[in-house]
Amino acid sequence: MFQKLVSPFLILVALSLTSGAREARAWWMWTPGDTVDDVGYKPTQPIPFSHALHAGKREIPCEYCHSAARRSASAGIPSMNTCMGCHKVTRTDKEPIKWLTEKYNKNEPVEWVKVHDSPQYVHFTHKQHVAAGLSCQTCHGPVESMEVVEQVAPLQMGWCIGCHKEKGASINCITCHY
């Protein structure tokens, strides 16, 4: 137990003597390995796709587009033919849809900016979490009310472990790190 505490302890002491909590977070940004708390990250996407409209107002279920979530580790970004399924006929007069249609006809994919991104040494599986009955909002927040999707949970290990402990899920290192 002592060993387990000693190194984070030292670092915390060192940091608390020199800087406030905000910088402590910055320290973690510096460490190799992407342990950044990105709460509030809200990148601009190529077109103003609104989850508030699609998932909120129109009540399209999450898994209609992110259909890999229940089958795979990855939730998957919908391919363009999913978009065009509706947008061949709906709202074809809007600028973003025109842009999308043009890209689709040219066989060019849309390059979305990833919002939720876990480091490569973490193996997160959507499938198991969907199967366990977690709602998408538990980790992704109220996406159905977001005009632009932003990250609401820190997605850091402490946050994962907290929930795993609460629900009695595995907290072995190798469950996620291998």
Partner: protein
């Protein structure tokens, strides 16, 4: 001075020491462990700044130096320095908001059967050799990431060989040509494919065009013949060539003896005795996976008596290493040995075969009586042959003769003699099948003879997917023959030496990008389909030919080769059904990977022509050193040499990586005053080479063995370019008369020391077990029966049977509450040391190749090691091969010493390694008694070509496994990604993982089925049963029967003791036991 090493003197191995250490080989590492003179430069590897460019951008080296200087000048203690360092880090990173944004790019039109993150498998057929093994190619997001054997395929039965497993490195090889090229005078120009077709069509019109191509059993050769005819040429100008001469000699011998150009299908299950004379059927042979699987099955102790292998050989092969009785014979005396065996068989009244067979045998023996008179000099007495003949006639038996190390002028004669022997023991129809599902010969024997005669008359030659410029000895004169041909086109999947002779150099699709088929056994068809679109601007050879024909206005009625195959497969549908829609049939074939049933034909009788085909010369003079140049078990004829993973897989017997070595009998080496790593000059009348010595026990005193495969010129590949030498340059022009194949063994060679020393990159530096009795355990067959009987007695009397896990222990039962306890069991009787597991492990777990320099520093990264031990007579030792991976100890010494809890124990028994937590103290590696932990001394390059290309294309990485960086420890974790996948599937289906559901990479690939993985909590699982077997033991686990428990690490990996029919096998162990009591007896209590 001469000293005997401990008490091993009684086993006949004496170690001589001088001031430089052990003279021949020894248990002490001595000078071989000397560190490299200088550090390897960083050019090969990534610097931290390359891994994290934002670090470099934020803090220049000058700044870093300043900080350090400041810290030092302030004379701070460590704690203050840490504070200061933390503060500067904060300051310097304040500008950085977050990591760089990543893009998520979905498909435009997602394929129907595709789910991102879920693997798709494609059934196909291996194209790396002519054996035709069925494969399942795992693809992730459209990229092939792992090659596995197709478990339903009767040739591969789920396994692949070492070479086949490395196929992905061929597909993703960074040196593959980017497009077609034409060589004019002194320059090479890139060409567009359309121009190639146009130019070649013009050149070929009305000319005599020939095709020289590699072996195939499918429709490919037939297509070439049809193409030659369609473009106005002659079908006979197709020449097939396979450097493994065994195919042509066996087919030729059966043509002579039975009138059938085919190879018999070997069925080990129906025999009790297998005799090998110069055979290498477990190394390279004709179909290494098929034969290894079959042999391993027949070696199963559970299936009653284990088949006995008697091997006569002058080299030390992996096949010989598995032999129960191994007789060392002089080089090139395989035919004489076969005749001696034939004589003993013919003398026995119970010999099988018709009167005709016996008469032919008598005639052959009479014709060779002069040669037979010298058989005394073989070093094997007539009594041995007589006894063997009696044994062979008692149960079923068969003889496998010939291999790449015994290929001389008598190669076809040897096969004919072997046929007669097999007739005398009644092998045809039982152990050897020639009438039902015989193996199709991938080449037409005699083609090379024809090529040598006809090449000069050709106007143009297409060389397709074969590399004769390297694989034929220079003395064969291939280069001269080809220079006489005005137009030479070289079509290859990777750059090869033959390209230098061609004016057109055209890149071909890799077999993973191609359509095709093979017919490994008559009537049995194995389909090949692309699992990825062409990754470079390459074409399939057949498609290119169709385009050329179209430009010649002599088009064939097929749009591409796939259409041609569909046409041909229509006849397969007619034979094997189901009738109806052809597309449905084809879908089914492609899904399953194969179709067909074994063909039958009337059995033929032995022809009299066999008599004349066997002409043996007497025994060659002893004391003359003779050079043998066998195919390499990993690099084959050199086609694997540009794959780093194969170069880094150790040779089975010497564990040498990256180099060519010359193997000689240790006694001969000693007599000549030569030591390991001495660079020798080998000189024959054809040439000379310099190569470093490895004294290898078990080699005949007259044999000098240099494996083929390495010695490529630098411009062909950066991987193979600087490695080793090519022994074929030492052979003067001699051919086997019947097939025209060049002789690659038996050249008289002069050996002299150059006075130089070259450190061969051998992974294992010791040869014996240093008297540890609980590393490899050996048992005679009788001892196993005794143990089985003793256990049966205990069961009857109701005594408890002590399990391996029953070790006196202070700790509570670790696995009391868990559903699973993962375990692995390795059968040491079956493992041949081929190294396929090492390659599979490297591919599955993203393990980098580190290169010769690092291997010499002991820094190879293999998660599974193949330890090879010799015991007994140096001239004919017992060989044990032990796959050693993380033992997943229940009481793991590594876990207790980790200061940061980076390695911990999973409740399911896996000793896990958390890379992102590891700080690289390497305490765990020091604590590990099995030495299976590997430290990343560098971040190895994945995607760039450094000074020397050593790594894989980044696209070949397994996305399910973290890529480790510098400063991190790693080791085997039982392919946890596979375990987790299976557990998730089982959980979603509301059940437990069942046995065989998880196959770890090494188990999956193993051509000998030596490795079994499973759940130890399930008493019915295969691994539980193996752990409860009478032969089971734990490495370094003492001898529980004697209440010695060794280190008490209680591994979840168990081994099954090696079993052999060999006389006195395992007796050495008991000798050790008595000794161990005196010296090591207390170690059980001490731990």
């Amino acid at each position: 001075m001469t000293i005997n090493n401990h008490e091993t003197g009684k086993q006949g191995v004496a170690f001589e020491m001088d001031e430089r250490g052990p003279v021949i080989f020894g248990p002490v590492d001595g000078p071989l462990e000397r560190p490299a003179e200088k550090m390897v430069e960083g050019a090969l590897y990534m610097e931290t700044e390359e891994v994290m460019p934002e670090l470099a951008a934020r803090q220049s080296p000058e700044d870093q130096k300043d900080e350090a200087r400041k810290a030092l000048s302030m004379n701070l203690d460590r704690r203050d320095f840490l504070k200061l360092f933390g503060a500067t880090a904060v300051a310097s990173s304040a500008a950085c908001v977050r990591r760089p944004a990543e893009k998520a790019i979905p498909y435009v039109n997602q394929p129907v059967d595709f789910v991102p993150g879920v693997a798709n498998y494609y059934a196909t057929t291996c194209g790396d050799c002519a054996a035709g093994c069925g494969l399942l190619v795992k693809t992730k997001e459209g990229r092939p990431v792992k090659i596995e054997g197709n478990p339903a395929h009767p040739i591969s039965l789920g396994g692949t060989c070492t070479l086949g497993q490395a196929g992905l490195q061929g597909l993703y090889h960074l040196e593959r040509r980017k497009g077609p090229a034409i060589k004019r005078a002194n320059r090479t120009d890139a060409l567009a494919w359309d121009d190639v077709y146009e130019l070649l069509a013009k050149e070929f019109a009305g000319k005599k065009v020939g095709i020289l191509t590699g072996g195939s059993t499918g429709h490919r050769h037939q297509f070439y013949r049809e193409w030659l005819r369609a473009t106005g040429g002659s079908e006979s100008r197709l020449y097939t060539y396979e450097p493994n001469a065994l195919y042509s000699t066996i087919a030729q011998a059966h043509a002579i003896a039975f009138g059938v150009e085919a190879m018999p299908r070997v069925d080990f299950r129906s025999v009790k005795t297998v005799v090998g004379i110069g055979s290498d059927f477990l190394d390279v042979g004709t179909s290494p996976v098929f034969l290894s699987k079959g042999f391993s099955d027949a070696r199963n102790l559970d299936n009653g008596a284990m088949v006995r292998l008697v091997q006569f050989e002058s080299a030390m092969t992996a096949t010989g290493g598995r032999a129960d009785d191994r007789h060392v014979i002089p080089p090139n005396s395989e035919l004489l040995t076969t005749l001696a065996l034939m004589r003993s068989l013919a003398e026995r009244p119970e010999a099988k075969g018709t009167a005709n067979v016996k008469a032919i045998a008598k005639k052959i023996l009479a014709a060779n009586s002069a040669a037979l008179a010298t058989a005394e000099g073989l070093g094997v007495s007539k009594a041995v042959f007589d006894q063997l003949a009696a044994d062979m006639l008692k149960g079923g038996s068969l003889l496998l003769a010939g291999g790449s190390h015994s290929f001389d002028e008598n190669a076809t004669a040897l096969q004919v003699a072997a046929i007669v022997v097999n007739e005398l023991v009644g092998a045809y129809g039982s152990g050897l099948q020639l009438d039902r599902g015989w193996m199709v010969a991938p080449v037409k024997p005699g083609d090379m003879k024809r090529f040598a005669q006809e090449a000069a008359g050709l106007d143009a030659l297409l060389i397709i997917d074969t590399n004769p410029a390297f694989t034929l000895p220079a003395s064969f004169g291939f280069a001269d023959l080809v220079k006489k041909i005005p137009l030479v086109v070289s079509m290859q999947t990777q750059p090869v030496e033959t390209d230098d002779l061609a004016s057109f150099v055209l890149p071909l699709n890799h077999y993973l990008e191609s359509w095709g088929d093979e017919q490994p056994a008559a009537g049995f068809w194995s389909a090949r389909q692309p699992s990825v679109l062409a990754t470079t601007d390459s074409r399939q050879a057949e498609d290119a030919l169709l385009w050329i024909a179209a430009h010649m206005k002599k088009s064939m009625p097929y749009s591409d080769y796939r259409a041609y195959l569909r046409e041909k497969w229509k006849s397969l549908q007619a034979s094997f059904g189901p009738k109806g829609d052809f597309d449905v049939f084809m879908e089914r074939v492609l899904q399953k990977g194969f179709v067909g049933e074994l063909a039958n034909r009337g059995s033929g009788s032995l022809r009299d022509a066999a008599t004349g085909a066997v002409k043996a010369s007497g025994l060659l003079d002893s004391g003359t050193l003779r050079l043998l140049a066998p195919l390499d078990i990993r690099l084959h004829d050199g086609r694997g040499a540009n794959k780093p993973v194969l170069q880094e897989t150790g040779d089975a017997m010497t564990t040498i990586t990256w180099d060519t070595w010359v193997a000689m009998n240790p006694g001969t080496a000693k007599k000549l005053g030569l030591r390991r790593n001495d660079v020798l000059r080998l000189e024959t009348d054809a040439g000379k080479i310099e190569v470093a010595l490895y004294p290898l026990p078990g080699v005949h005193p007259d044999a000098v063995i240099v494996h083929r495969g390495n010695g490529h010129p630098a411009h062909v590949s950066k991987i193979s370019g600087a490695n080793g030498v090519d022994p074929l340059s030492l052979f003067a022009r001699k051919v086997d008369a019947a097939t025209g194949m060049p002789v690659t063994s038996g050249a008289t060679v002069k050996v002299a020391s150059t006075g130089k020393v070259f450190q061969l990159a051998a992974m294992q530096k010791h040869n014996d077990l240093a008297n540890r009795h609980d590393i490899v355990k050996k048992l005679g067959v009788a001892a196993v029966s005794e143990k089985v009987a003793a256990r049966a007695g205990k069961v009857r009397s109701g005594e408890t049977i002590r399990s391996l896990d029953d070790v006196p222990d202070l700790y509570p039962n670790l696995y009391k509450d868990s559903e699973y306890r993962w375990g692995l069991s390795v059968d040491l009787t079956k493992c041949t040391g081929c190294g396929a597991c090492q390659v599979a492990c490297a591919q599955e777990n993203n393990i980098p190749a580190v290169g010769r320099e690092q291997v010499n520093l002991g820094r190879e990264m293999h998660w599974i090691r193949l330890d090879r031990y010799f015991e007994g007579d140096t001239d004919n030792p017992q060989v044990s091969i032990q796959p050693m991976m993380c033992q997943q100890c229940s009481h793991a010494p590594c876990e207790a010493v980790c200061p940061v809890y980076a390695t911990t124990h999973d409740p399911d028994g896996i000793n896990s390694m958390t890379y992102n937590r590891c700080i690289g103290t390497r305490y765990c590696a020091n604590a590990c008694p099995y030495k299976v932990r590997r430290f990343n001394w560098w971040t190895h390059r994945w995607n760039t070509i450094g000074d020397r290309l050593q790594d894989r294309n980044i696209r070949a990485l397994n996305p399910d496994v973290t890529v480790r960086t510098r400063g991190v420890m790693e080791k085997c974790n039982f392919c946890f990604q596979r375990v987790r996948d299976a557990k998730h599937t089982a959980k979603s289906e509301g059940r437990k993982v069942f046995d065989k559901e998880i196959k770890v990479a090494c188990e999956q690939v193993c051509p000998s089925d030596a490795i079994v993985f499973g759940n130890l909590k399930d008493p019915g699982s295969r691994v539980s049963q193996m752990r409860a077997d009478v032969r089971a033991y734990l490495a370094l686990g003492g001898d529980p029967e004697k209440n010695e428990f060794g280190l008490k690490t209680l591994p979840n990996v168990s081994y099954l003791a090696q079993v052999s029919h060999r006389e006195g096998f395992g007796k050495g162990d008991e000798g050790h036991d008595t000794h161990a009591k005196g010296e090591h007896g207390g170690h059980g209590e001490r731990t």
